[in-house]
């Protein structure tokens, strides 16, 4: 509707955005109604010669109902909003779906270190590779992240994924996303982490299946064959 958010390329981004719009319309209606009533009352009941204010104390239930019933409606709407959002919350912050694309993201003053397990798929092996500020992922695949920090609290924020999660030293916090489109997008830090907080700019590279395979070959070149000629593998 209004063009307020960055692009959404996340499978769950729509869920989050739609909760936002639900709240927006409810709250927007409340805002317009509330301010309009205030404006109307201040103008309509301006002091007039010979006219006295009404002696209404709001102690009678018939009067107080005008306040209590709207308050009850607000409560019901608020609870509705919370439960509407509950499903999206569980999806995003609950268990990470099955995935064989795993990356460890470590915040460290003032960079994002992305550690890839390499073709063997296991971390803490010799083919692990750590890149600074580059997160390479395939499109339309769940990416299984483990968030860490080496020093202070950082917060891994990918606006186009609608993903944000604080990174705490000493912990490994799970997060995940699945990109719906390819492209290059920015990553930021969303927790004050020192004088370089504003420089913690990373890049998310969402590759097509082919480009992702190419990237893997570039980063982990296959070992040369036993005989003298090198064979190009597809």
């Amino acid at each position: 509707m209004f063009d307020w958010f960055p692009q959404n390329i996340s499978t769950y981004g729509g869920d989050i955005d739609s909760v936002f719009w639900l709240i927006f319309y409810i709250v927007g209606a409340g805002f317009i109604l509330g301010e309009a009533v205030i404006l109307y009352f201040t103008i309509r009941y301006r002091r007039k010669e010979g006219q006295r204010a009404a002696f209404i104390t709001g102690e009678k239930m018939s009067e107080l109902a005008w306040v209590l019933v709207p308050a009850a409606i607000v409560l019901v709407l608020d609870l509705g909003i919370d439960f509407a959002g509950g499903e999206a919350w569980s999806k995003v912050k609950g268990e990470t779906p099955e995935s064989n694309v795993k990356v460890i993201v470590t915040g460290k003053q003032f960079n994002w270190n992305m550690t890839y397990p390499g073709p063997d798929g296991k971390f803490d092996t010799s083919d692990d590779l750590t890149l600074e500020n580059e997160l390479h992922v395939p499109v339309k695949k769940v990416v299984d992240l483990a968030l860490k920090s080496e020093d202070v609290i950082h917060s891994f924020f990918v606006p186009v994924m609608r993903l944000k999660q604080d990174c705490i030293p000493g912990r490994k916090i799970p997060a995940w996303f699945e990109a719906t489109e390819t492209g290059q997008y920015e990553i930021g830090c969303a927790e004050l982490c020192g004088y370089g907080h504003y420089t913690m700019r990373g890049f998310l590279h969402v590759h097509s299946e082919e480009d992702y395979a190419k990237w893997i070959l570039e980063r982990w070149p296959p070992a040369p064959a036993a005989d003298s000629t090198t064979v190009e593998q597809l």
Binding site: F41, T42, T57, P169, R171
Partner: protein, 570 residues
């Protein structure tokens, strides 16, 4: 009582200048000391806001008027990233603890409670004096922290460790230690004050002044005092732990030695959330006093407001982790804290609707206190409603630590503390200083403040929705944030104009104090007891001790000829 009042008055004549104006035990003098301290610190906090707003509009350019600041704090007027972080930290810390608390509670709580309950002074006048000098010392400590090597604290007003726990992460050492000490002194000051507020209200009320006949401002002040006193303990503990981690190498928050950074967050926010209600309630109290007077109508739903205030106070203790939805705390905690956060909107909805209902069928006049009261209400609604986006955990994933949060809390805080504070200031100025303020300049101040305040913060909602993170020295390092620069420039110009708009208030305030029209005892024809004392009241307050016969909001009662009936009249 009346002989005590006379004895006090005679005693007062014999006091030296120092005992009368500087080391006074009179609650009204102490209130003014708190007021002037808060106003001075507001200038400091406002100056810091000017600096950070300039940096956000025109990054890494020289801020006009600041070339005198020496290196390495600033470089020929240019703010470096280290100092920027100190600016945002100290802006928040000073505004919450050294402006809002001193003015709303220290000044107006101290001034009004004894007068509104019909007492000659607070229960413990010397403790009251000590509370002021404690916060005065705390303020000196905070200001001193700018001048120590490494500069002032720069880990955010929230001070999360490990950033705040070890100097190597920020380059700030003494600054953060002084910040902790200054806060500890400030907390002590308000603990002392709280004792006075509660004891005076409970045990020194005039005959006939039952609790349910108290002016709502008194209810707000004592609820704020209770909330503060019960919530601050955990943060004092947490601050001691931080101080120990920093100075003697304990590891409460240090992960390498078995500590947990999240412990701080829980201790901080356990206090931090109730604290925002502490500074909110007195401003609402001012609105609740002013609306009936200038609508000539009883406050709507006195009992509902009192009960809602108490419920809100209780609930304020069980919502804190909504500040921690993405902190890494157990995800299962999110649902209960979301529900309690939703629930707390109910008592506040009741209070706001009761204010609106007070306006219904009134007979309104609009001197400046009434303009600010309605303004507080109108602005606070925006703050409250935008909180729902943040209290809903799902949307908070995206909005947490963005400018959306900044805009939200400025709408709630500035409405309650600034607009509410100005409501109180304009309303009680005649009682405090015995003179009237200039009404034309007061109105100009109101309209300019209302307009420019909105122009500063509406753009910040937009940049927050665009994903702009908080506390960024230069947001435009990011391509996706570059389009926000025009909005930041707009907000900065509006902010400068907002500061300039306070000049009419300051000139009006100080000029009227000495040259304003002499005020009557009761220029607003209001019912509460403070208006029966002279303007300003002498030491001891009342010539004869008042007796109370009914509640404070008997306006336009059908059986009474006048459209008001003071509490002390049958």
């Amino acid at each position: 009582m009346s002989s005590a009042a006379t004895a006090h008055a005679t005693h007062e004549e014999k006091l030296s200048f120092w005992r009368k104006y500087i080391f006074s035990v009179d609650h009204k003098v102490i209130a003014k000391q708190y007021l002037f301290l808060g106003m001075f610190m507001a200038l400091v906090g406002g100056l810091l806001a000017y600096l950070l707003r300039w940096q956000l509009a025109w990054p890494e350019t020289a801020v006009p008027g600041t070339s005198w600041v020496p290196e390495p704090t600033m470089f020929q007027g240019i703010i470096p990233p280290e100092f920027y972080n100190a600016i945002v930290t100290m802006h928040g810390t000073i505004m919450v603890f050294f402006v809002a608390m001193p003015i709303l509670l220290g000044a107006f709580g101290n001034f009004l409670i004894p007068l509104m309950v019909g007492a000659p002074d607070m229960a413990f006048p010397r403790l009251n004096m000590m509370s002021f000098w404690t916060i005065f010392t705390a303020s000196l400590v905070m200001i001193a922290s700018f001048f120590v090597p490494g500069g002032a604290a720069s880990a955010g007003w929230t001070g999360y460790p490990p950033l705040s726990a070890e100097a190597i992460y920020t380059g700030v050492n003494w600054g953060i230690t002084l910040w902790i000490l200054g806060l500890a002194l400030e907390f002590s000051s308000f603990l002392m004050g709280g004792v006075n507020f509660l004891t005076t209200t409970v045990s020194m009320r005039a005959p006939g002044l039952k609790m349910m006949r108290l002016p709502l401002m008194v209810w707000m002040q004592i609820t704020a005092a209770i909330i503060f006193m019960l919530s601050v303990g955990p943060l004092i503990a947490g601050a001691v732990l931080l101080l120990l981690d920093r100075t003697v190498g304990t590891s409460f928050y240090a992960v390498q030695k078995g500590g947990d950074p999240l412990l701080w967050q829980h201790l901080f926010w356990f206090f931090g959330h109730p604290e925002v209600y502490v500074i909110l309630l007195p401003g609402l109290g001012a609105v609740l006093e002013v609306l009936p007077v200038f609508s000539r109508k009883p406050i709507f739903g006195y009992k509902a407001i009192v009960y809602s205030t108490i419920v809100a106070g209780v609930l304020s203790f069980i919502v804190w982790a909504h500040h921690m939805f993405v902190s890494g705390m157990n995800f299962k905690l999110v649902l209960p804290f979301s529900i309690t956060t939703i629930m707390i909107s109910v008592p506040f909805t009741i209070i706001l609707l009761a204010m609106i209902a007070t306006l219904w069928k009134g007979s309104h006049r609009f001197p400046t206190p009434m303009l600010f009261a309605v303004g507080t209400l109108g602005v606070f609604i925006v703050g409250g409603l935008t909180g729902i986006f943040l209290g809903t955990a799902t949307t908070d994933i995206y909005l947490h630590d963005t400018y959306f949060v900044v805009a939200h809390f400025h709408y709630t805080l500035i409405s309650a503390t600034f607009f509410g504070g100005f409501t109180a200031m304009y309303f009680w100025f005649p009682k405090m200083f015995g003179r009237m303020m200039n009404e034309t300049w007061s109105k100009i101040h109101f309209w300019l403040t209302l307009i420019f305040f909105n122009l500063v913060f509406i753009p910040l909602f937009k940049v927050g929705l665009g994903g702009e993170m908080r506390r960024l020295y230069n947001p435009f390092e990011y391509d996706f944030l570059k389009p926000h620069q025009p909005l930041h420039k707009f907000a900065t110009i509006a902010a400068i104009l907002l500061f300039a708009s306070q000049i009419p208030f300051l000139v009006n305030f100080f000029w009227s104090m000495f040259k304003g029209k002499i005020a009557d005892r009761n220029p607003w024809q209001a019912n509460t007891l403070e208006w029966t004392a002279p303007s300003p009241p002498p030491h001891g307050n009342f010539e004869t001790a008042p007796k109370v016969y009914h509640g404070p909001y008997v306006y336009s009662a059908p059986e009474i000829k006048d459209d008001w009936q003071p509490q002390h009249q049958q």
